[in-house]
Symmetry: C2
Subunit: 320 residues, 2 copies
């Protein structure tokens, strides 16, 4: 037996799958559409077929798989192995995904939050290499997060720890999709950065972004950063607010679990140093003076592969 | 050898010491004045003498001590065992407290933050019994905190994790003693609850507290809660703000490490159910709706002994 490891990263649109050797070297990877509305049976069947294909292309058989890991958007009952009620996949109510995969692959399966899985990928093979304590934020539609403490993912009592995007930093502030007011996510995710810009534009504030909004009916976070680079004042104001909210998340994460490194991932980090430096500046300006803090704030390095690598790395741990 | 355990809880004013048997049963306890200005050598000497006395009164000798634990106010270099620069004890700069005690007692010594130690006391023998994941807040001059995750104190990369009182919940808000703006501590500690009341009184707002402030030159947190109970409107406003800040701390702690129980301790919990119920109400009103949360919010049960019990319980763990 070749002790292959399978890493699966489920998103609302696509499912990424990687086939790794026992040392976490990527042999083959693929991406299939999720088509969540076809229902859990059909989606799992398609996943198993894709895994079978990957393993075969790598020159092995299904029986060579030692363990698999899968990440899905939270919240779910990760301890019990059940997708309970995901926002973007209404057909997936109370689906015992861990058991279904385990039955299909005839191996142990580890199931975790998609952000935890990506966090563990970066921790194992990316921006978290060399440290024991790390916090991870992924900036997309929402803000996903993961915490590694003493080398282990911090999972909490029910597997839903590290939902740091839903910590409240502006009480009575913007309404978040989760139902709370003033979550960090409601300000600093990529979607909400774009949304805040659009809202200010609608009040009549002048900006080079206005033309874009009128033309496309919407603006993206990338638009905001593009116009920041050409000196637009509104874009600066909006991205400053985003960086400030992210810096507060960093300060609060430092005071919670004291990581050595804080890693940002997700679409928004394409903005580059202009974003990273503003987060660091605000962090340094606001952080307490009781002791000197040496936490490093940086960007992720694995890109879209973080999820499959993390899922496979978690699978590897089952066997250790 | 009787395998005695010694628990030491160092405060700015008093040092509490307990002598426990191997099963963490309290045999004898005492309290001595800290007199921090006499310097570390003198204070440690006094501590050792007090421990010697306790052990003797319990019918044993110093050689019967198996291990000791000590908690001091943070931040410090807990990993290295050194009190670095405590706010309330200027004479204690770079004091290798763990080594000094270990040399004096001829046993292993565990050294941790005072709030962590009290947290571990409640976790082991008080309000945290029966759970694996707990968050602890102590409401005094500041807000100390502790996190237990999967049955272990979460210490962070340098031993300064769980400084949740210094998480920012009102960006650009009240200046905290730590140098940050908008920390939870700057609103909801006992001292800052009293301070906020005094500040509003000075703007001329009417309240039954005014007479007290004029008479004593200051008001305490207890005064505020006393006047809340007799229906004073200002006292209600101030304590509502405190409860709201504490509820936000609870929400953020839940999303960070997902405890099953959140325990409040410290002088302010003498306010009783009027405080606890207001925290719970605000928590239930503000918490997300993505899933039902079952975390219990409650008060500590060990009172002033939490520190010595926790320190002894940590000492016991060294020997396991």
């Amino acid at each position: 037996m070749a002790n292959l490891l399978i890493g699966i990263d489920v998103g609302g649109t696509n499912i990424k799958i990687g086939c790794f050797d026992a040392h976490l070297k990527l042999l083959k990877k693929t991406s299939i559409t999720t088509d969540a509305d076809t229902g859990p049976q059909a989606v799992v069947k398609k996943m198993l077929a894709a895994i079978g294909g990957l393993v075969k292309e790598s020159g092995f058989n299904l029986s060579d798989i030692s363990a698999a890991g899968i990440g899905t958007p939270g919240p779910a009952d990760y301890k019990a192995g059940i997708i309970t009620n995901p926002t973007n996949m209404p057909a997936f109510k109370n689906v015992p995904i861990r058991q279904m995969l385990s039955d299909g692959l005839h191996c142990s399966v580890v199931f975790d939050n998609d952000a935890n899985v990506a966090c563990f990928g970066e921790f194992t093979a990316g921006a978290g290499k060399g440290v024991n304590d790390m916090v991870f934020f992924t900036l997309g539609t929402g803000i996903g997060a993961g915490i590694v403490s003493e080398g282990k993912l911090l999972r909490g009592s029910g597997g839903n720890a590290a939902e740091l995007g839903h910590t409240i930093i502006y009480p009575d502030g913007r309404l978040c999709n989760c139902g709370q007011k003033g979550c960090a996510e409601a300000y600093a995710s990529a979607s909400n950065t774009a949304k805040r810009a659009a809202e200010v534009l609608q009040t009549g504030e002048k900006s080079s972004l206005k033309k874009l909004l009128d033309k496309n009916g919407q603006i993206t976070c990338k638009d905001v950063y593009d116009h920041l680079k050409t000196g637009d004042k509104l874009a600066k104001k909006i991205t400053d607010e985003t960086a400030k909210a992210l810096a507060i998340l960093c300060i609060n994460a430092l005071h919670a679990t004291e990581p050595q490194r804080i890693v940002f991932a997700g679409g928004m980090i394409a903005a580059g140093d202009i974003l990273l430096n503003r987060i660091k500046d605000y962090f340094n300006e606001q952080i307490w003076k009781l002791k000197k803090e040496t936490v490093e704030i940086c960007f992720a390095t694995l890109g879209e592969d973080a999820g499959i690598i993390g899922a496979a790395a978690l699978a590897k741990k089952i066997k250790q």
